[in-house]
Amino acid sequence: MSEHDAHDATPALGTHGGPAGWQRAHPDAPVALQRNRWQDAAWSFLYKDDTRYAPAPADMEAVAQASRRMRAGEPGAVHGPVINAPVWTWEVPLYFWFGGVATGAWFVSVACDLAGDHRSAAIARRVSLVAVAPSPVLLIADLGRPGRFLNMLRIFKPRSPMNLGAWALVGFSGLAAAAVGADLLGRPRAARAIGGSNVVVGSYLGSYTGVLLATTAVPLWARSRLFLGPIFVCTAAATGAAATRLTLVAAGLPHGHPTRTALGTIETGAMAGELILSSLNERRLGRAGLSLEHGTPGRLFRAAKWGVRIGLGLRLLRAPLGPRAHDVASLCYLGAGLAFRYAWVGAGQVSARDDETVARMARGAVTFDDRLTGGPRGRRLASIARAPRGAGRLAARYPELVRRASLRAERLLGMSGTVAGRRGTGAPPTHR
């Protein structure tokens, strides 16, 4: 018997997954021997006026003060778990990746159309349609109750990124299919028109995945909220361009064609952007970014970055190495994009289990910009959308702040190796 065996107490009573039936045994009958309108609760209350439980009206200011005082400052010992880790499995990052490829390819198709390369545009549309095709499958496979996928479309709820994302997926797929259909039916103008309008939907499909992660309580994701969307868009553009490029090359797009050049520029630019944004973000994250450095997510993250670097290097060296080197670079980008997605999702799960970071985030002291901006008002979450005083000036100075933060982060990391480590160990827990 291992030291901490779990005990499986096979359920004798009870069903998983929800409250017992909410149906009255007899629709119109009352509950016997219980008084209605919560009268029993009032009657049986122990600390009535004959006690000194809560005798006098309170000084509300003192009550509020006590609450704020106990919630301010350093958190001290944290007895987790504080939040639950996301339950998403391997399908989700893959879906993100496919969605990104589809979006990126669609952007490319529209650009091709604009540049007058309609043949490439039509192929790009098909790439996009093929890339979006597995997305619903993956999304459904990840559901706890796949049969209820359509419940996503039961309502239209702009507040929920996932709901909008589901609608966007449906809309995008539909429009993409329509555009490809138009292509096949020989209606290029219609296809172009549909393609143009689908950019609006596609822009959401390609970016909402970052929003989806950012709108959670997971420190890594929440505190990257301004970066995640752009990073994911970069990945989408790069992978979409790379996929399209490889398809076009396979279809015979000759070397030297401007589309091929443009695609190379897009994937390189986007990937470089992604690398820069990621590094910048990683450094400003401070303690919250630890989960990107350790364990499997850390390895994936490093692999992705190396993939990007290799791709960039190959592209720079394509003159001596020949055009095939560029194709390898495209493959590197595709692989790196996939690794980035897995790294981000996986690191979020680790981050959610890092109780101390969660606690520190709630106390408004986790990333470096928290400290530089003096922390949010009232120790609120730094990332709250309420603009602090002087938000305009802050916005103007934000890049500078991030730069300084990064420098500071590097110094700190260089000195101690960790940032505000978990009681000296530095590593976030990998299991609970």
């Binding site: 030291e3 901490h4 005990h7 107490a9 096979t10 359920p11 004798a12 009573l13 122990l46 600390y47 004959d50 006690t51 000194r52 439980y53």
Partner: protein
């Protein structure tokens, strides 16, 4: 509970749970109330929020301590020393409630000249016979009162025979000194007796600092008196000791000195651990008493007649003067028309006792091959009884065993997976015990009454049919009786007379032929033999055979043919006194909720204070009235003066609130009724790492029962191999031996494993890690447990040395959803002299890190090789230690 019985008159909690809310101070000691009685603790919390001070004295900082205002750690098994210190404090600081003490207790009564206290004799009272380790109690009597109990006839096992009765003592001739100055008056004897129990001594014995002691003492004193009351709450942490009864006695003395008995928010709250454990002593499944605390007859030369038994049991004065009516009515209930005055109502056919036939003695008999069969109903001795390893070996020696329970408990499967099988000491194929495991009905599948801790009888209705072949015990006994009676129907043998003539005509109903529980209840309540009408209460019982009553103290619970225990009207809780809710269920005796409540009024019948108003004399109506049923003749004027030669209830004056006692007073000093001394004295537990500092010559209670047998080895005092004090406790999440909780996944998951709580210093010393494994070892066995290293357990500094304590829950066994080692494998059989209760709340042990490498009880495997074969006589030898080494 003779501790309460010998002090106050009745062996039941003097109080009820809702009354706790009116306490001004609550001392919880020997109980882990918040964990073992969470709903009862509701009323402690209410009291606390009403301003009461809650004090918890316990070795372990538990969930009760967390809610208490003050937690005082104490060394397990030293409660008498602590309570004795409090008694001394109350006396010496003159903080006692003088008017109450003088009028309501026997403090002024003058004792015989030849009484000698422990101080005079170095640790024992006069009358001690070292040969038999028993007392002759003659000298403990009041001066002038002739007779007294014939101590020479007492044995350990006759326990209850005289404990409530004080038979033969003529208290009418007793003298009193109301100034309390007479050197031989009880008060002065008490003062001298407890003079040794100074705060310094308390510190040396219990490990309680003088500051902590003073904090408790001040709280008790400040919250007692006319205006305020203090309640004591206890459970088996006080009783399961070789001096357990005397702990309760000490608590009674303290409460009487403070004037807290019989008053709202006062009293002594005995917290029972099983739904109807009070009921199972009222209607006893105990060997030495008959229903209603009537003593079982004892064999004597020339036989014992009904009159002999009545003479031995009845008192001339007080309520026990009606002993004969109760006994005869019981015999009429059992033997019906066959019971006549001519045949002594069948009394002669009752089996007679000659010694100790309690649980442990019986199991030892079984080991020796002297017992054929055993019925176990709703109990799990293979886990829950002291020295469980010995219990299981006893089960293996039976010819047959009938176990009735809801699930497959350890007692039923000992032949398959007990530690003894694992160790190879026993082989399944060699165990000849035939086992019947009978499925039992649960509480919602049958109807009947529980008697809860506050002596409250509550009827539970039947909601469901039991599943399959599950049946109630009522069904089982009824249909067993049917078969047995059929077998003996034609017998002419004298020995079969009781079976042939047993009244047994309970109507059956339903498909499964369930006997009618209400019919049984009516018999318990009693009826008029001629007309069959239910009796209104026990005052109508007669000794001429015209009434029948199965349990006199329950008489009245079917008053007017209405099931009083089934009443469910809480009343208006908010009205003055409405919190008593007298229409909810029915409390014995006569639906009195606070016992001895005459004492809530002063001798003139006025409430001691407006704040503590409860029962008072209403001059206009010329009767006692109040919120409760008066525990007093309702029309006896407070100024009634009993003449010296009055008998029965006539002898109880209008200001004598303790009507069960022959002198109408509570007994600070118990001249009769106890076998180990008239006053509580500190003795060390049977197994202790420390010497008795108060009476060095007598380590443990000299009258306690010990079984010196190879399978029951004891630790010597101060044995360096066993330097640690262990105590056991209950968790909220489990129930007793776990049969009703370990199988329930909802509960099992809350506390999945056996653990031991120990202090960080001990853990550091032994290299034990929190959450890791550790072994607890005694001479009987070794068990493994998870270590819960916690600052909540504190080492104590006792007389210059550090004493570590460990605390063990005892809910796990080898079957069920969650399993673990059995705490009771550690303990030895021992017995309190009055009731024979075991000492499971304090024993010595050792701990080490790691897991055990052999089954828990393997170390005793060899001890049994030289056991005797079937004994030639009935009683196993109980050897009494005269000197403790």
């Amino acid at each position: 509970m003779p501790g309460l019985g010998a002090s106050l008159g009745r062996g039941g909690a003097t109080d009820f749970l809702q009354a706790l809310q009116h306490a001004d101070c609550i001392l919880i000691e020997g109980s882990n109330m918040a964990e073992a009685h969470p709903v009862g603790f509701r009323w402690v919390m209410k009291a606390k929020e009403r301003g009461a001070k809650v004090i918890h004295v316990d070795p372990r900082f538990g969930r009760t301590s967390q809610l208490a205002d003050l937690h005082v750690p104490i060394r397990a098994g030293t409660d008498i020393a602590f309570l004795g210190g409090l008694i001394r404090h109350v006396i010496e600081s003159e903080a006692y409630f003088r008017e109450y003490v003088v009028n309501y207790t026997n403090a002024p009564t003058i004792l015989r000249e030849d009484f000698q206290d422990t101080d005079d004799l170095g640790g024992v009272f006069s009358g001690f016979d070292p040969e038999t380790a028993t007392y002759d109690t003659t000298t403990w009597s009041y001066a002038g009162a002739d007779g007294g109990t014939d101590g020479s006839e007492q044995t350990h096992s006759s326990q209850a025979a005289d404990q409530h009765t004080g038979a033969g003592m003529d208290v009418g001739a007793a003298q009193r000194d109301d100034t309390l100055r007479h050197p031989r008056c009880v008060f002065q004897v008490l003062r001298r007796h407890f003079a040794r129990y100074t705060p310094q001594m308390v510190q040396r014995v219990c490990g309680i600092s003088p500051e902590e002691f003073a904090a408790v003492a001040d709280a008790l004193v400040q919250n007692s008196g006319r205006e305020r009351t203090t309640t004591l709450c206890y459970a088996v942490g006080w009783t399961q000791h070789t001096a357990g009864v005397q702990v309760i006695r000490a608590a009674s003395i303290l409460q009487l000195l403070l004037g807290n008995i019989g008053r709202p928010g006062g009293g002594i709250m005995a917290l029972r651990g099983h739904a109807s454990i009070q009921g199972s002593t009222d209607i006893p499944t105990l060997f030495d008493i008959l229903p209603g605390y009537l003593s079982m007859p004892h064999a004597r030369a020339g036989g014992v007649s009904l009159q002999d038994h009545i003479d031995a049991g009845a008192r001339q004065r007080g309520w026990w003067s009606y002993f004969d009516s109760y006994l005869v009515s019981l015999l009429k209930a059992w033997f019906g028309d066959a019971a006549t005055a001519d045949n002594e109502f069948g009394f002669g056919h009752l089996p007679k006792l000659t010694g100790n036939h309690a649980h442990f003695a019986t199991m030892l008999r079984a080991i020796d091959g002297g017992l054929d069969g055993l019925f176990v109903m709703g109990q799990n001795p293979a886990v829950g009884s002291q020295h469980a390893g010995l219990q299981r070996r006893a089960l293996a020696s039976l010819k047959w065993l009938v176990v009735r329970d809801l699930s497959e408990i350890e007692t039923a499967t000992f032949w398959r997976d007990s530690p003894e099988i694992e160790s190879g000491e026993l082989r399944t194929q060699d165990i000849g015990t035939e086992v019947f495991l009978m499925p039992a009905a649960a509480h919602v599948e049958k109807e009947g009454t529980f008697t809860n801790t506050q002596r409250l009888l509550q009827w539970h209705d039947k909601a469901l049919e039991p599943p399959g072949d599950a049946r109630s015990e009522l069904w089982f006994m009824h249909h067993l009786a049917r078969r047995v009676r059929a077998h003996y129907a034609g017998s002419a043998s004298k020995r079969d007379w009781p079976i042939r003539n047993l009244t047994w005509d309970y109507p059956e109903h339903g498909e499964i032929r369930e006997p009618d529980a209400e019919a049984v209840a009516r018999e318990i309540n009693g009826y008029d033999v001629a007309g069959g009408a239910p009796l209104p209460d026990f005052t109508t019982l007669r000794s001429d055979g015209s009434t029948a009553c199965g349990c006199w103290i329950y008489s009245g619970y079917f008053r007017d043919g209405v099931n009083q225990a089934r009443r469910r009207d809480p009343g208006d809780i908010g009205a003055p006194g409405g919190w008593v809710s007298p229409e909810w269920g029915w409390a014995w005796p006569l639906n009195r909720r606070v016992l001895y409540n005459r004492a809530s009024a002063d001798p003139d019948g006025r409430p001691w204070s407006e704040r503590k108003r409860y029962i008072w004399w209403d001059e206009q109506q010329s009767r006692w009235t109040g919120y409760d049923v008066p525990d007093f003749p309702v029309d006896k004027r407070p100024d009634y003066e009993a003449s010296r030669d009055a008998l029965a209830m006539e002898a109880i004056s209008g200001d004598d609130p303790f009507i069960m006692m022959p002198d109408g007073r509570a007994w600070l000093f118990a001249p009769t009724g106890l076998l180990d001394g008239p006053l509580p004295t500190h003795y060390e537990p049977c197994e202790s790492p420390l010497d008795n500092l108060i009476h060095p010559d007598f380590h443990m209670n000299p009258a306690a029962i010990k079984w010196q047998r190879p399978e029951n080895p004891y630790h010597a005092t101060g044995d360096p191999r066993y330097p640690i004090v262990a105590t056991s406790f209950r968790l909220t999440e489990h129930h007793t031996a776990g049969a009703m909780s370990r199988n329930l996944p909802w509960l099992a998951e809350l506390q999945p494993e056996m653990f031991a709580e120990l202090d960080p210093a001990l853990a550091a010393d032994r290299g034990i890690e929190d959450g890791g494994w550790m072994i607890v070892e005694t001479a009987r066995g070794e068990i493994e447990a998870r270590a819960k290293v916690t600052p909540r357990i504190r080492p104590l500094k006792i007389d210059g040395r550090v004493v570590h304590q460990i605390c063990l829950p005892w809910h796990w066994g080898f079957t069920g959803e969650v399993r673990g080692d059995i705490t009771n494998d550690l303990g030895a059989l021992s017995g309190e002299p009055n009731v024979g209760i075991q000492e499971s709340k304090a024993f010595s042990c050792d701990v080490r890190a790691g897991r055990r490498t052999r089954p828990s009880t393997a170390k005793l495997a060899d001890a049994r090789l030289d056991r005797p074969v079937r004994p030639d006589e009935d009683d196993p030898p109980a050897e009494y230690p005269s000197q403790i080494t």
